[in-house]
């Protein structure tokens, strides 16, 4: 079934070693990408640029404004002296939040009358807007409650929430992003590598030459994939080290299990590259098709956006990509310390997708030459 496997591995290894520039790129690119994206992609919202328009100016208003800065979410970048100026600061992008305190704020508080503080939020960046809105509301609640407590001594907060965030207590973006990023980076590199390796042979006609020999299709395909799987395995090693020591993300679960699932994922992802190569007839087409696969796998795999909130058909489509399963495995093992008993369905998913990819590629292989 695997006739010719060792011959293909032999020559593929020479190809790789004879091109040290490409080899070096293959080995360092994932590490570089992980480092850049790992630092660049942050969902934490801090230091939102804020302007205020304080018509009151007395102590109570200043205490309220201090509360905003003390949360760490807001950072005052200036003061306005009119409504137009306040609006203008948000429109020209200098600030994302504007706070307007009415002239009789201190009087109303002292008299026990409700007072309205206006908070303008730039909604064009929804993540920032959401965060600003939540924090502003919380500040209002807290301040109000404190005032009530001062008026009615002995009164205690009736319900107190005590949330505890499991697995990523500091809510660090790195913990969420970096494991997923490992999956994405590996899928991209391995897919491109195999797609190119096969399409190049198509272009030079060497593939046809091989078809006249007793090399079996499976021997040819697996033989071509194996050396790249080794490179991929090395890449996994590098990026996991970077994650652990550069981004300080600890691996809670079993490293061996992670290694085993990684190898499974690599073959599936290489199979994806093989699939691309059966569709493309030259390297330019291969790039285009690979990009076509890459974008949805970044957006729909749950890497950045939760799959649960996607429309059902899109959710199902997202299950086609091997990286979807691998990201769940990565987050499971690295962050939650999940074991085989929790993650085997994801492994099964990889096996099913991988078998389909290899099977379809094998049949298409025959067709492209027939």
């Amino acid at each position: 079934m695997f006739r010719g496997f060792s011959a293909i591995v032999y020559k593929e290894t020479i190809h790789i070693l004879r091109d040290p520039k490409t080899l070096l790129l293959m080995l360092v690119i994932p590490g570089i990408q992980l480092t850049i994206f790992g630092y660049a992609i942050r969902l934490d919202v801090e230091n939102i640029p804020t302007v205020y328009y304080n018509l009151d100016g007395r102590e109570a208003s200043r205490v309220l404004l201090d509360r905003f800065t003390n949360t760490g979410y807001f950072k005052f970048v200036g003061q306005s002296y009119s409504d137009d100026e306040l609006n203008g600061a948000i429109i020209d992008g200098r600030a994302k939040v504007g706070i307007k305190i009415p002239p009789d704020f201190s009087d109303d508080i002292a008299l026990g009358k409700p007072s309205q503080v206006q908070v303008l939020i730039d909604g064009s960046d929804s993540t920032v807007a959401m965060q600003a809105l939540n924090v502003a509301n919380a500040i209002a609640m807290q301040s109000s409650f404190q005032i009530i407590q001062e008026r009615l001594p002995g009164q205690r907060q009736p319900i107190e929430m005590r949330p505890r965030v499991l697995f990523n207590p500091d809510m660090k973006t790195a913990n969420f992003m970096v494991p997923g990023l490992i999956g994405i980076v590996l899928q991209v590199v391995t897919m491109f590598l195999t797609a190119f390796a096969v399409v190049r042979e198509k272009e030079t006609g060497t593939l046809e030459q091989l078809m006249v020999t007793p090399v079996s299709r499976l021997g040819l395909m697996v033989g071509k994939l194996s050396p790249y799987a080794c490179i991929g395995a090395f890449e996994v090693f590098v990026v996991v080290l970077l994650m652990r020591f550069l981004f300080q993300v600890r691996i809670e679960g079993s490293v061996m299990l992670l290694a085993a699932f990684s190898i499974l994922f690599l073959f599936t992802s290489l199979g994806l590259g093989l699939m691309v190569s059966t569709i493309a007839s030259n390297q330019v087409q291969a790039i285009q098709i690979a990009f076509l696969v890459m974008l949805p796998s970044v957006l729909l795999s749950g890497f950045m956006f939760p799959q649960e909130s996607m429309p059902y058909p899109i959710y199902v489509f997202g299950q086609v990509f091997p990286v979807t399963y691998f990201i769940r495995i990565l987050r499971g093992i690295i962050l939650r310390g999940a074991g085989f008993s929790e993650l085997w369905p994801q492994g099964l998913g990889l096996i099913v997708i991988g078998t389909i990819l290899l099977g379809v590629s094998a049949t298409r292989f025959r067709k492209t030459l027939g």
């Binding site: 006739r3 020559k11 190809h15 004879r18 046809e208 030459q209 006249v212 020999t213 027939g370």
Partner: protein
């Protein structure tokens, strides 16, 4: 056991959609022969070779290659044939030795035997001096020798060569053909496509494929004797004079001349029998100097030109 015929096809046909690339071809190739397949570009030569190698499935018809059934024993066939495709299809970034080693592994030769065989093949093709040269650094002629070496590694008795001499210089071309003769004497069978008439003349058997059909097949001698080529009552003359183009124009006006074509420094004329003297007198009367006329047999080029013309006329009707 070696079958008597290396290749035997019966009604072999391949269609691509509505287009028939190879149309019910019957071919017989004897063991140890060099079979040259000729025909214009697009006539179906490569398609026929690709079918015989098991790269393409025939739409219709059957064939036996080295005694194996083309439809059911493709794997057996692949083990017993060698194939050199039109374009250079070895790995340019591998050395000569690595390319050869790769093929010994593809055919699963045991290590010891592989080493011996590589030396044997290197001796046959004489590529030893370039052992450690990258394949892409070889010149055209040596690339073809390397390709042939790789195709020989598993000791196939039958080799398919698709335009092996296209684009290489005349000296390398001659050297490659001498190599083919040596191998043929040692019992190898060759199935070669070519555009060169001088190569066709060297083949032991020749087939001519035109518009997807095999319209002639046999030894070069047999083809030249074909009645269609030199019909009864006609003969071929070679006419030499001081001005070829003018002579051709004049000869074509004579009623007894069927065809006059320039071949280098002479004219080949198909004319009624016993008209040689008449022709020479007429030319001298028209003022041509140094006129020589002698009788010649048909060349292979004459054969193919005549057969093509006959086919075209038949198609037009």
């Amino acid at each position: 056991m070696v079958p008597e015929l290396a290749i035997k096809t019966h009604g072999l046909t391949r269609k691509f959609g509505a287009f028939t690339a190879v149309d019910s071809v019957n071919i017989q190739v004897e063991q140890g022969s060099i079979f040259g397949l000729l025909g214009p570009n697009g006539a179906g030569k490569t398609t026929l070779i690709r079918m015989l190698c098991g790269l393409l499935r025939p739409t219709n018809g059957t064939a036996e290659v080295m005694g194996f059934d083309l439809l059911r024993q493709t794997d057996e066939i692949k083990r017993h044939i060698g194939y050199m495709s039109q374009q250079f299809s070895l790995y340019g970034d591998l050395t000569v030795l690595e390319n050869l080693t790769f093929y010994t592994r593809v055919y699963a030769l045991p290590r010891q035997r592989a080493r011996e065989r590589i030396e044997e093949v290197i001796n046959i093709t004489g590529i030893g001096d370039f052992r450690n040269r990258l394949a892409r650094q070889l010149s055209g002629g040596w690339r073809q020798r390397l390709a042939l070496s790789c195709a020989l590694v598993h000791e196939p008795r039958l080799l398919f060569l698709d335009e092996p001499t296209a684009g290489i210089d005349p000296v390398a071309r001659r050297a490659l053909w001498n190599l083919l003769f040596e191998l043929s004497n040692a019992g190898h069978t060759f199935f070669v496509t070519t555009h060169y008439m001088d190569e066709a003349e060297r083949c032991s058997h020749v087939g001519y494929i035109y518009y997807s059909k095999l319209i002639a097949s046999g030894t070069p001698g047999e083809l030249k004797e074909l009645p269609e080529v030199t019909p009864v009552g006609l003969e071929r003359l070679r006419v030499i004079s001081d001005r070829q183009p003018q002579a051709m124009a004049l000869l074509n006006t004579f009623g007894y001349v069927r065809d006059a074509t320039i071949f280098g420094d002479s004219l080949h004329v198909l004319t009624e029998e016993e008209s040689g003297t008449r022709l020479r007198d007429a030319m001298q009367a028209a003022g041509f100097q140094d006129v020589h006329v002698d009788s010649i047999p048909a060349s292979l080029e004459d054969v193919f030109v005549t057969l093509t013309r006959t086919m075209d006329e038949a198609r037009r009707v």
